[in-house]
Each structure stands twice: as C-alpha cells, then as structure tokens.
C-alpha cells in the first residue's frame, strides 16, 4: 500500500504502428485533485481506459488504489467512479431509473448524494436519457459518479457540454468532495482554466508522452518569462530555456528552473533585465507543446 491513488510504470499502448501512449509514469497522490491535460488525441482517454481495464496496455503496468489493474480490475471498479468521454447511457431509461440501476452495484452508494446533487445540478430525473440535452446527459453521468461513494473519481472530460454556471457548480462540488471525503479526483481536460482553478497536481500529455507532472504551484513557480534588452544575447534554446523570442534589441526568454540565475547571467553579459514574470498554465502548456514539436 503506497500513498498513491494511481501509479503507472512505462505504461504504453500502440494501435498497429501508432503509439497512442508511450511509456508514461503517472503518480497521483491519494486525496489529490489531479488535472490531466492535453490536446485532443494526446492519449488522455487511452490512458484512462487502461486505468479502468477497458483497454490492455501494450507494455508497462498500472496500479489503482494500490491494486494491479491487470489482476484486480473488479476490486478497483468497486471503489472507483468513472465519467466517460462519451456521455451515452441507456437511452430508454430515465435518470431515476439509471440511479436505480447503478445503485445495486455499489455497497457505498449514497441516496442522500443523489438527492443533493440532482437538486443542485437541476437534473430532470423523470425524463428519459435520450430526451435530455447534452449538458443534462453529462450531469447524469456526474450524478452517478458522485453518488457512488468512491475513493477515486476518474473523470474523462467531465464538463463537456456544460454551461458556465454548471461548470462552476461542478468544480465547486469536486473541491468540496475532495475536501470532505478525502477522495482522489483524476480528471482529464483540455480546459486549462478548469484545471488551474481546482487542481493541486497537473500532468501534461502530448502525442502519447507525459511532458511534465508536478504540483501545480511548483509548475507555476518553475516557469518564468524573462524580458531583457541588449545586443547579441544568446538565442539558443536549451534544457533550461524553452523558447527565445527576439524583437529588435528585446529578448523574451521562457525559462524553466533557476530563472533568477539565468537573469543574473544575462545581466553579467551586459543585458538589462526589464522583467521576470510568471507564466499562466496556458502559456506553460503551449511552451511545452511547442518545444516538443
């Protein structure tokens, strides 16, 4: 039993010759809200499917809640709630009937949670799933996941089709249940603002590879945009310098790790450092993806 809700080692998945996921090593601490970021087709959904045993990895291994996905899938599913990227459910059932259907599978099911969240999210419980709007269909998925009383919520694009008010409510609910119940929330998204709002940890995926994963505060403190004025300053990128932009005598460096040391080095070379500014999560993500490309 380790302190990680999700642990993967060299987890890979290939379809034919195409690598959907390439040797990723996820570390999701228990009780954390972990934002799993990436563009469309980055490999987020494939990773989620492997964590739930829906797809077998080509190589590597995964542990969820300390159990091996390969051998203890059903025990994992008993304690894990899931919201799929595809928000389809049995079309002929109403939301109430879907609750009735799901309730029987889990000993930890909470009818109080059903009542609370169905009211909060304003879900028409007596309407057939097929007749619900896309936003309400997403809410039904979320309701079923929240009422399960799970230790871990794996949510694949959980805010798809939700209006801004509902997104706000859902984010609030995630923060609340993580705090109250101590459960782990692992959610994939390409909405960087959502991740920035509630996640403590973030992982960036692109083209099947995990570019970066860390505590969100650490990620933000690690990256800096340094603006300097001078002549013939260095223009090469390196492990520390992700990108360099030049406009006349002005140089803009995106630097990771020891930004102050880098700025001091520029000053020693005769440059005038005009600004050392933090980057938003969006900017960090774009810089990492651009560097990867």
């Amino acid at each position: 039993m380790n302190g990680l809700a999700i642990l993967t080692e060299h987890l890979s998945k290939s379809y034919g010759g195409k690598h959907a996921v390439e040797g990723i090593a996820l570390n999701v601490p228990r009780g954390a809200i972990y934002g799993f970021l990436g563009r469309n087709g980055a490999g987020k959904t494939t990773t989620v499917k492997m964590l739930l045993g829906l797809t077998r990895p080509t190589a590597g291994s995964a542990q969820v809640l300390g159990m091996s996905v390969a051998t203890e899938r059903i025990a994992i599913l008993r304690r894990t709630a899931f919201v799929s990227e595809k928000k389809s459910l049995f079309r002929s059932l109403t939301a109430s009937e879907l609750v009735r259907f799901s309730r029987g599978f889990y000993g930890t099911w909470s009818d109080r949670a059903v009542e609370k969240y169905s009211r909060l999210l304003e879900i028409p419980m007596q309407q057939r799933f097929a007749k619900l709007s896309n936003g309400n269909q997403t809410k039904v998925w979320l309701l079923l996941a929240l009422a399960q009383g799970a230790d871990l919520l794996i949510l694949d694009e959980p805010t798809t089709a939700l209006d801004p008010i509902s997104v706000d409510q859902v984010m609030h609910v995630f923060a609340e249940i993580a705090l109250d119940c101590g459960c782990t929330i692992f959610f994939s998204s390409h909405q960087l603002e959502e991740v920035e709002r509630i996640a403590e940890y973030a992982g960036f995926m692109d083209r099947g590879r995990l570019l970066l994963q860390s505590r969100l505060d650490d990620i933000k403190s690690e990256f800096r945009l340094i603006t300097a004025a001078g002549n013939s300053l260095p223009e090469q990128t390196s492990q520390q310098v992700l990108s360099v932009g030049v406009e006349g005598n002005f140089y803009r460096y995106v630097v990771t790790k020891d930004a102050d040391g880098f700025a001091a080095g520029l000053s020693r070379n005769g440059a005038t450092v005009t600004d050392v500014a933090p980057l938003s999560l969006r900017e960090i993500f774009l810089q990492l993806v651009q560097k990867e490309q």
Binding site: L54, I74, A75, S84, F90, E97, F101, S102, R103
Partner: protein, 228 residues
Amino acid sequence: MYFWKCWRDTRSFFIVFVIIAAVVMPVAAVVCVGTGLLENFGPEAFRSTFALIIMFAALALGALCASEEFAGETIHFLFTKPHSRGYFLWTGWAVGCVQLLAIALVNWTAGSLTLAHYSKHPVHSAIFDSAMSQQLAGAVIEGLYVYCLTYALTVVLRNGLRGLGASMAIVFGVPFFAIAIRWRWKINLPVPTVPIASFSPLTSNIIWLIVALLFVFAAQLAVERFEI
C-alpha cells in the same frame, strides 16, 4: 439489477409475442369451425405455427438482448461496473432464454388446449402425444440454437442488425450448404437441430443444445478480450 434492465428492454417485445403465441391457435380454430380443417390439419398447423413463432422470437430476442449493451456507445458504462464481463453476457442471455421458453410454453399450452377442445380428445393426449411432443421439443431446441447463435453473433459484432443478419445467413444457409456437400461429395454433414443419424433424438437434442451453448461461451471469450 442488470436482470431488471434486460427485462425492461425486452418486455414489450416479449408481451407482444406472448399474446401472439396465446391467441394464434384459438383464433385459427374459431375461424375454421365447421370447415373440418381443424380436425384434419389442426396438429400440422399447430406444429408449423409453433416452429415459426419460436424461430422469429429466437431471432429477435437474440438480437435485442445484446444489441444495446454491447454497442459502442454504452459499453463504457457497463464494463466499468464492478462485475465480470461474463456476468453481463450471461445475464442478458438468461433473460432472453427465459422469455423464449415462456413464449414456447404459452404457445404449446394454448395450441394443445385448442386442439384438445375441438378434437374432443382428452387434453393430456393432445399435449403428451409422443410424436407431437417430440416435434414440438425439436422446435424448441431449434429456437434455442437460433437464439444462442444470434445472441453470440450480436455480442461479437456489437451490433443488433449485423448479428441478426449473420445469424440468418448461417441458419438458412447451412442446410443448403449441407445439401450441396451431400450432392457433390456424398458426405452427410450434420445440419443444426436435425437429429443426428447415429444418435437417439434425445441425445441429438442434447448435443445441439451443447453446441448452442458453445456459441455463447465463444462470445464470452471474445467479450473478455474486447478492447474498448
């Protein structure tokens, strides 16, 4: 819970077929009163309608019981429930199987009572007449075989229409194939649910039932290897 869901999906179809199974012989009998048709051709008509109803019900139930569950859209939901994939497969199968047998029972009972009433024979002789019973049992075995095949193909192909189409092609194509083989090479291939020459009818029926169940086991193997 899943049993309830499967029942809910198929109940309207089941009720329609039960009604058809219950009324087809009595209605035919009422229509034919005084014509002598019932006395002369009643048992033959009963055997034919019985086989036809069971065949249609088997094809439709086989496709219906698995079509939504194993389609691409909802399979994520189902297979992330804490149960084995085999549980879902066999539960869906059991619901359809029970419904098929219930339809057969209703039709058998209604038909036998109708024949007994109009032929003035005692009910038990109409129901338990050995030749008739054997033929009706054969039709039930054929229905179960077709149901299992359709169900298995629907699961494997993850689509009700494709499963139904593939099953119909096999059910109606295999006898022609067997005839062609016999005609060309003088080899007798066993045709599904037709009694196998070297075995008694009971043994043949058991063999065909085992073959039918093997289709579902094969589907289970496929389901457990599904990449979703």
